[in-house]
């Protein structure tokens, strides 16, 4: 690996992209700044329509930005397309490309020729990758007869044919079942680990996938990056208070009796886990407790005796990336929301590890 790898793998400065449309233009990207280091597994997390795919299209030289610049290992995406195409590849979820009349092996070989491999080298590499992605039994099967999962594995093999230095994965597990999605995620991890400096940019709207795979994540919504950081850092942002879920056998005076205790910010009833009418177990009272800090819990536990209540279960609630998203955007992934309304909380993108930026309303 040469010293040149020290240039950012992906360097995006002030990228905007506007699609001409009626009745009004669509702003897909509204000023994105992003830097991904070589060797990083970076995630773009956001709901449908957030601008993730548009950014990938710009980075893979398929689309020009309306404004701003983007570079892949120092090569400009607008002008130095040939160089970029030699060192990157991409795979999209639900990809149906290719020729159904060819066998999986033949289709991959065809692409190997497009990617600059020699004729024999192409066949060798194809066979190698077919085995690596677990398509050995389907190598001579026509593409049109492959299952969705097999097809995505084949797409993955296609993406690896040219040993890319940057691998763009646009919702790669879309529509796959649990085991196929897991197999694809393992391939991503295994491939990147094989050579230092290989960079992955993954877009997904699966929170757990981003959490599991990415070293850093940018949360994107309506063309803006709302926050960047490692999954742990992002989660810490929303955990300003201690949140516990308390389940009691009974509670005289209800949650309000706990809300009055020192250090308790709020205590609200939650749905008990065993509240199901058919259950033989005794009904319980579940409460979500929000405390100033963990130490306030001792006072709550001590007060329970006086309230004639006994703890059935107690758990500290860890925030998820979804909580981070809800905190930043004011709605969940599945909610359409009002496109005219700005995000509830938008923060400038910043490097992981830097102090948290000031909250800013836009």
């Amino acid at each position: 690996m040469s010293g040149s790898i020290q240039a950012p793998a992906i360097d995006v400065r002030g990228i905007t992209r506007v699609y001409k449309a009626r009745p009004k233009d669509v702003i897909a990207l509204a000023g994105i700044d992003l830097e991904v280091a070589p060797g990083e597994f970076f995630g773009l997390l956001g709901p449908n329509g957030a601008g993730k795919t548009t950014l990938i299209k710009i980075l893979t030289t398929l689309l020009l930005p309306s404004a701003g610049t983007a570079r892949i290992f120092g090569f400009d995406v607008a002008r130095e397309t040939k160089q970029i195409r030699r060192i990157m590849n991409m795979v999209a979820g639900g990809e149906q490309s290719g020729y159904g009349i060819l066998e999986a092996r033949e289709q991959l070989w065809m692409f190997s020729q497009f990617y600059g491999l020699g004729v024999r080298e192409g066949w060798r590499r194809v066979d190698e990758l077919i085995d690596a992605v677990g398509l050995g039994e389907q190598r001579n099967q026509r593409v049109s007869t492959l299952s969705t999962g097999q097809r995505q594995k084949m797409n993955f093999a296609r993406g690896l044919l040219n040993d890319p230095w940057v691998f763009f994965l646009d919702e790669p597990t879309l529509g796959l079942d649990v085991s196929a999605a897991r197999a694809v995620r393992e391939l991503m991890v295994g491939w990147r680990a094989a050579v230092p400096g290989r960079t992955v940019l993954l877009t997904t709207h699966y929170m757990a996938e981003a959490d599991e795979l990415c070293e850093r994540i940018a949360i994107v919504d309506r063309g803006r990056i709302l926050a960047i950081g490692s999954p742990a850092e992002l989660k810490r942002r929303v955990q300003r208070e201690s949140i516990f879920r308390l389940e009691l056998d009974r509670l005289t005076g209800g949650p309000a009796s706990l809300a009055r205790l020192p250090g308790v910010l709020s205590a609200v009833a939650a749905t008990p886990v065993r509240a199901d009418a058919n259950s033989a177990a005794r009904p319980t009272v579940a409460i979500n407790l929000v405390l100033h800090q963990d130490s306030a819990l001792a006072g709550v536990v001590a007060a329970l005796d006086g309230l004639d209540a006994h703890i059935v279960a107690l758990a500290k609630s860890e925030p998820s990336l979804e909580d981070v998203f809800v905190e930043l955007v004011g709605r969940g992934f599945d909610d359409e929301g009002d496109p005219e309304q700005p995000p509830r909380r938008a923060v400038e993108p910043h490097e992981a590890g830097q102090p948290e930026p000031e909250e800013a309303n836009r």
Binding site: Q96, G98, Y99, G100, I101, L102, S144, T145
Partner: protein, 312 residues
């Protein structure tokens, strides 16, 4: 939760699995025709109108008119009506045969909707026929324009008062049914073939062109081909339309040296013979098309071809 949102009257009704018979068929057909119209045959689009109803059929006719002109010169004038009517009708045949096949290829390869149509409660063949009707209508428009251009520009003598309307109506109805049946056969074939088979319907139509007496009398063909032509309902359809529009004009079936003359002892077939043979051969073709479609559909299901995309 389900109880709360679904009213008593909206619960699953087992009778729905039986459908509503003709009403369902008609609705499917009407929807498919409307879809075909929007996609293929919108005459309000001047480009589409020009391409399908003017340029293609007129050019086909002009090729033949020029062949006639080159060889026969002014003497060829007498044969013009024969050639123009045959050519105009042939554009209708090509549209009819191609319409259903292209609907299969379009919906499978481009729109990827064929599987949804196939699994819907609608009759698959009825939906395809509906799509095909739109193209047939385009072909009919083209045929009309070609005939009109023949009369107005190319000097084809035409007397509207001489039209044999009962014959025209009878052969039109029987002929269009037969053309649709051939379209169904072509659709069954294209269910099996790859994306690049767009040209197949025209190839089939082009081959049939040889034996149906569209632009030259069957009598110039070798005997086996003449016999083949006599077995084709399209031969009788074209002869019938010619006879209805230009009573007493030259026949493509009979004449000196024709197999018809040798078989029947008559120079030309009369109107009743034309209708009866068209009915008989058309019925055979329709029956065969139903069987072939069923076989083709079964094979496509067996091999998983309904929802594949091919490409090369």
């Amino acid at each position: 939760m389900i109880e709360a949102t679904i009213g008593r009257d909206e619960r699953f009704d087992p009778a729905r699995t039986r459908g509503q018979g003709r009403a369902d068929l008609f609705r499917s057909f009407r929807t498919a025709v409307a879809l075909g119209w929007k996609m293929e045959a919108n005459w309000t689009d001047p480009v589409l109108f020009f391409i399908y109803s003017v340029a293609k059929p007129l050019a086909s006719a002009l090729i033949l008119v020029f062949m006639l002109q080159v060889i026969a010169g002014p003497a060829g004038q007498a044969l013009r009506p024969f050639v123009i009517v045959g050519s105009a009708l042939w554009s209708l045949v090509v549209s009819g045969i191609a319409g259903l096949a292209w609907a299969v290829l379009d919906d499978r390869e481009r729109y990827r909707m064929l599987k949804y149509i196939y699994v819907s409660p609608s009759s698959f063949v009825v939906v395809l026929l509906g799509r095909g009707i739109a193209r047939l209508a385009v072909g009919a428009m083209g045929a009309g324009i070609t005939l009109a251009a023949g009369v107005l520009v190319l000097g084809v003598p035409f007397d509207p008062g001489a039209i044999d309307w009962p014959l025209l109506l009878a052969v039109l109805v029987l002929g269009l049914a037969t053309i649709s049946a051939l379209g169904v056969v072509m659709a069954a074939i294209c269910l099996q073939t790859r994306q690049d088979s767009w040209t197949y319907p025209e190839a089939v139509a082009g081959a049939l062109f040889l034996v149906v007496g569209a632009v030259f009398p069957l009598s110039v063909l070798p005997d086996p081909l003449q016999l083949l032509g006599l077995l084709s309902p399209l031969t009788w359809w074209i002869a019938g339309i010619r006879q209805a529009l230009f009573p007493g004009g030259p026949s493509s079936i009979g004449g000196t040296g024709s197999a018809w003359l040798r078989l029947s002892g008559e120079v030309n077939p009369n109107d009743l013979q034309i209708v009866l043979v068209l009915l008989a051969t058309g019925a055979v073709v329709t029956l065969a098309s139903a069987i072939l479609f069923r076989v083709g559909e079964g094979r496509a299901r067996d091999r998983g071809l309904i929802d594949r995309t091919t490409g090369s």
